[in-house]
Amino acid sequence: ADQKKYTIYLSNSVIGNDWLQQMLRSAEVSVKKGPLAGRVDLHIETVENTVQAQINSLNNIIAAKPDAIIVHAGSVSALDPTLERACAAGIVVVSFSQVVTAPCPWKVNTDWTSTNHDIPVWLAEVLGGKGKIIVDRGLPGSPISEASNKEIEAVLAKYPGIEVVGWYTSNYELGAEQAGVAALLAANPQIDGILTAGYGTGAIQALKDAGRPMVPIVMFAYNGSATACAQEPGLKCMIYTHPPYLSADAIKLAVDVLDGHPPANNLTENNYPRLTTDVVKGDFSKGAEFIKLEIGKNVFPDLPPGLVLPASPAWLDITPQEAAGTN
């Protein structure tokens, strides 16, 4: 059919971690193959980590009058006035991952409410409703961490047998995770479970350094974490994700809107399947899906540890190699 080519800018707030790199690569791959092949002229604008720089960058993007802007926002609220201006200028705006509070942009995100609900439920069920656990509070000041902390606290309140004996902040960073877990292990002779928001491998190493047996761990879906989990004897774990290909989803959404097929809702939230060594029964969120960890099938020891799983949305075929940039 008569398919127009759209100019789309991806405004990215920061580049300093593996997740963001894969996000950018997924965006690039998504306009080269599959349904969007040849339909999008994609420009990636990256700034280094300040709200002010992203606002500047967005102002420049708006001045270039593109068809759409997809935004990975460095702040949930600071960009609002700027994005509203973009909308007012007739530009389709899609915010993904850390979604903004401004009403106008379309939004694509992981269903964090379900995820944050299921994380503690799994740990509590695996422990049989009884035990002492430690919890990672993520990155201080970040809205995602804050929401997660609140939800986890609320859920755990329903398991009187589970006691949170300590918190640490990993800043989603491996070294800090290892240091935090090590300190808590030192302070607590008994720890039965660990809930990290990051790599998990730091927690595993801390357990080993302290000479402790492995305990159930919830961690984020890095390939390295999943591999460690699958290969470590006796380790039970659950791995939740927040896929970097949200950027591809956002581009697709923008194109759909431009093509005249907007989604029914302003906000699209996806509840992704979680990988685990132990599928347990419990009061999980509606539609929650657990998949058994399997080396070679959903975990790839040969691929880099920093790859985030899963690599591709259903509507597209981003190979793990493409996502890892190793093709």
Partner: protein, 323 residues
């Protein structure tokens, strides 16, 4: 005996007091939470402190020479990514990869030094820009892909314990580097030049001190130690990841400052920096124990740093002596 030690004992130097501060924190926390002093945990703390300590070798030299190195995070990160990307998990490859990385890291540091010494770019601007440029270049070169896991030999160095005595391998790595740093600082002409340049460039220049050379060398050393820390850190994390250098920006500088060096140059010693690294590590290690929220933790963190430096204040001592 060693004159600085005896002098130090007669009128306690800031350095001695910094160690005292570290000890105080350690004892206090151990009393509150006995597991803190468990050998396994102490070993972990030493390993963590060692990374800060190694980065801070170069930072100490640069600060003593009157500069500051803000390019540490992405220099470290680049070295780490290069280590895993180039070795492809092979121990044998370390033999050529590590020296190459260390030389390149020193080279990048030297570029900082060149621009600062010869083109008169203020250190803050130069190294901040270098940090950003390295970040960009790293992505251009690697296209941002996450590299394979770290070779096992490196994992052993960073995580290993020497079986017979139970001490971490990293402790010995750190001690060896610290010894070299102290000898360079106290016993070599370069060390003297560094203090001279940091104290007063004009005097240094007129006294025949190779001001530019000294500055360049200091930044090269900083590049080297940041690079080395990056290499070793991949062993600790078993992989490299983007952002792994970020925590070392302020900790390396704070370690130097807590260790008694003036941030304006001309004074300080790596001996003090070691105490600074220990204090900072103890702080991050102890805070989770108190079950406080992030906000309260930050308040305490700041307060303890303030306390640790305040006890070294001559003013405070004078005040108490008067009582």
């Amino acid at each position: 005996m060693i004159p600085w030690l005896t002098n130090g004992l007669r009128s306690p130097s800031p350095i001695l007091l910094a160690y005292l501060g570290a000890l105080l924190i350690f004892v206090a926390v151990s009393l509150y939470s006995p597991g803190f002093a468990h050998p396994a945990h102490v070993s972990t703390l030493i390993v963590i402190a060692a990374f800060t300590g190694i980065v801070a070798i170069g930072q100490t030299m640069v600060i003593v020479g009157g500069g500051i190195d803000l390019s540490v995070p992405w220099l470290l990160n680049s070295a780490a990514v290069a280590t895993t990307a180039l070795t492809r998990s092979s121990d044998a490859a370390l033999i050529w990869v590590v020296p190459m990385i260390l030389v390149s890291s020193a080279g990048i540091g030297a570029i900082n030094g060149l621009a600062i010494a010869l083109l008169r770019v203020p250190p803050i601007v130069m190294t901040l820009s270098m940090n950003v440029m390295l970040m960009g270049l790293l992505f251009i070169v690697t296209r941002g892909f996450p590299p394979p896991p770290t070779p096992l030999a490196l994992q052993w160095i960073a995580n290993g314990r020497i079986a017979t005595i139970g001490l971490p391998v990293m402790l010995f790595v750190w001690l060896a580097l610290a010894a070299i740093a102290l000898v360079v600082e106290r016993r070599t002409a370069f060390g003297r030049y560094l203090y001279a340049v940091g104290s007063n460039r004009t005097v240094a220049r007129l006294s025949g001190v190779p001001v530019a050379g000294t500055t360049i060398a200091a930044y090269a050393i900083s590049g080297f130690t940041a690079g080395l820390a990056g290499v070793l850190l991949t062993g600790y994390a078993k992989q490299s990841y983007l952002g792994m250098g970020d925590p070392y920006l302020f900790t390396s500088i704070a370690a130097v400052a807590i260790g008694g060096a003036s941030i304006l140059g001309g004074s300080g010693s790596y001996l003090g920096t070691i105490a600074g690294a220990l204090i900072l590590t103890l702080l991050t290690g102890l805070l989770p124990i108190f079950r406080l929220d992030a906000g309260a933790l930050k308040v305490i963190y700041g307060a303890v740093i303030l306390f640790a430096v305040a006890i070294a204040s001559p003013q405070l001592r004078r005040f108490f002596r008067r009582e």
